[in-house]
Symmetry: C2
Subunit: 228 residues, 2 copies
């Protein structure tokens, strides 16, 4: 369903080259939920950005369902990002001039969802992440963990078949982390969502059936929860 | 050394009041390193922002050494922030137009440190956080964890006697977290720094001798590492 073969991503800054991905290969089946762990700077966000259609690899092939990401025109990438993949960003990417509710509505506005449907859906998602009493608050009026939960709700707004979650529990206490991970597990099982989650927390990773280890831009190992 | 007595902080947004701190009291001795844990939205960042001279309480008394923070004129708060306290922010607060090196130099520029001294110190601190090979990179050219480490180095630039660390390892893998926490423990012991660290990670908290639990804007318990 998701297939990466020998993916390379090199960033160039002046004369310096940083090889973030060095011929990375992985496969994820439809309806699977996996975790990726690895040291800081090992290429996790880079990988998720490419899978999310926000960046392009320098070499290698990436297929998501019937979309070959390296060959897709920019106009079709926009459609891919709206309908196929939801992305919980490590740096949250909330719009600071919009309220929590408006941040969750925004992806649906781009998707041309009607007003009543999107407001109801946004309220529903913010309820799931326990922020029903903060709908009209802007990001600067929320704690770090509350902001992260708005970002999670926003990523789910268009009910995407694939979810890329880049450290979705980094700012959250254990109990709230558990609620979020349980929610992701539920939508994986009940709605057949494909979920790739990056995490530094082995307890969170152990909730998934397969954990990949990335180091220096390559997958170096696969683990089961028991091995965590 | 640090004393909070019945500290209240209420945020008002239109007609709504959010009571972030509800009569919180705590004491920290000079040279002590403590942790604070608590659920998302429980008041941890609010407390650190007040102790860091970035916000004011609505009621209560806060003394840090001989400075009474509620009565300090703004001009003296600026001096307090430059010389007395270093702050590792939860949202990092890096300047995106500056390189890693310049971000660490900036607090020293405000402190009027001479150029040669500050460049050397900045390089030294970025070496400690294992970023010697990334001095000229801007935050957008660094991973999430690399950015966090720049923020840590910046907080230490003026060698403050007090360090407020708001989730300093949230973006870091276990090994890098361990390096950072060991470094903080070392400066606490060798240089008598007073450190207050907020963390969601019980392993990180257990590195300190005293762990405070905060819930709904109050300290509700004190623990030892053994109890973690
Ligand atoms: N500028 C603000 N305006 C309004 N409310 C605020 C503001 N800053 C914080 N709050 C609210 O005050 C409460 C405490 O926030 P605080 O940031 O101190 O929590 P926290 O314990 O650091 O949480 P987290 O673990 O999520 O970072 C929260 O309900 C938050 O939404
Ligand atoms: N825009 C960019 N320009 C230059 N280098 C970059 C850029 N983005 C990432 N890098 C570099 O590529 C490498 C991989 O970065 P990436 O963000 O994928 O790491 P990561 O595994 O997500 O790390 P973390 O756990 O710290 O978030 C790092 O060395 C990083 O500094
Ligand atoms: Mg990352
Ligand atoms: Mg906080």
């Amino acid at each position: 369903f998701i297939s990466c073969t020998d993916v390379v991503r090199v960033y160039r800054i002046g004369d310096i080259e940083i090889a973030a991905l060095r011929g990375l290969s992985l496969e994820v089946d439809r309806g699977e939920m996996i975790s990726i762990m690895g040291p800081s700077g090992s290429g996790k966000t880079t990988l998720l950005n490419i899978l999310g259609g926000l960046d392009r690899a320098n070499a290698g092939t990436i297929r998501v369902d019937d979309v070959s990401l390296g060959f897709t025109p920019v106009s079709e990438l926009v459609n891919y990002r709206r309908r196929v993949v939801g992305h919980i960003f490590q740096n949250l990417n909330l719009i600071h001039t919009l309220t929590a509710l408006e941040n969750v509505e925004l992806p649906m506005i781009f998707n041309e969802t009607d007003r009543g449907t999107r407001k109801k859906r946004a309220e529903e998602l913010l309820h799931i992440v326990d922020l029903s009493d903060r709908l009209q608050h802007k990001p600067d009026e929320l704690s770090g963990g509350q902001q992260q939960r708005v970002a999670i709700a926003a990523a789910l707004a268009n009910d995407p078949p694939i979810l890329l979650a880049d450290e979705p529990t980094g700012e959250l206490d254990s109990e709230t982390s558990r609620i979020i991970v349980n929610y992701l597990l539920r939508i994986n099982r009940e709605f057949d969502k494909t979920i790739i989650m990056v995490t530094h927390n082995p307890i969170v990773a152990a909730a998934t059936r397969r954990i990949l280890r990335i180091e220096d831009g390559n997958i170096v190992g696969t683990y089961t929860p028991a091995q965590m």
